[in-house]
Amino acid sequence: MNPFVLAAIGGVLIGLSAVMLMALSGRIAGISGIIGGLLPPKPADDRSWRLAFILGLVLAPVGLRVLTGDDHIGAPTVGTATLIAAGLLVGIGTALGGGCTSGHGICGISRLSPRSMAAVGVFMLTGIATVFVVRHMLGGV
């Protein structure tokens, strides 16, 4: 199927998930926040639904692969050292900034939260700048 159509369908499913989690449990579907509540020190008291959500995330591509033969999971584009550095930055940044592409990007913008709008503007900008520097100035990936 056309990748634009698939992207829109994917977005709608993500939106439905966010609305359902709010309607059923009153929660924001922010992945970094859901994970954060499971981590030391002082994990949250409500760990079971967080673990269930993460289990659902991991099972989704398994189900998709069984049904369609393709799970749409791509291979990493960079080496181990870059993966470690990027992982640390994503972990530190989302914990410090209180959200990621889902919590700030989908849920926060939908709540018209000024904090989330500012965060999305900033991480889009630094994400674009990083790819620009790596690809067009350093000649990498």
Binding site: F4, I14, A23, G26, L59, V90, T130
Partner: protein, 148 residues
């Protein structure tokens, strides 16, 4: 029990959305961020579709006094655009651009069992724990120790 069912169901749906939209393919994500190169704008539609549905859905929920399966809505209370928010978002964006993974797709991609994804996820969790530890006063504890 119902909160667990809600978590599993919404996690599945969210993961399915990330896969179908190719957010789980770091090459596509980096192509989306590469506006000066062979720009691949498809992921704009993930954001547009997701925000359109969530915006409308949240509006429908506004008159409700409580969620269906929980006692209250748990919404963020912070309103200030402060330094941690901006610095955190900036740092996150650099990591996102470097590897093409944000937290959701990284977790979903664990299903592939690829070593690179495990390494990224391990580093991401380490970064999150580090910030939580510093916020909980861990840094102050270390600095106090020599004096004691």
């Amino acid at each position: 029990m119902r909160e667990i069912a809600a978590g599993l169901l919404t996690g599945l749906l969210f993961g399915l959305g990330l896969c179908l939209s190719n957010m789980t393919n770091p090459a596509v994500v980096q192509g989306f961020l590469d506006i000066a190169g062979a720009w691949n704008p498809a992921l704009i539609f993930v954001m547009a579709g997701g925000v359109a549905v969530t915006f409308l859905g949240y509006r429908l929920l506004v008159p409700k006094s409580r969620p269906l399966w929980a006692s209250r809505f748990s919404l963020p209370t912070a309103t200030l655009i402060d330094a941690p928010l901006i610095a955190g978002a900036a740092i996150f964006g650099v990591g996102w651009g470097l590897a093409g993974y944000c937290p959701g797709p990284a977790v979903v991609s664990l299903a592939s069992g690829r070593t690179g994804v495990l390494i990224f996820a391990g580093a991401m969790l380490t970064g999150m724990i580090l910030v939580r530890w510093i916020r909980a006063g861990g840094w102050a504890t270390i600095r106090r120790e020599p004096a004691e």
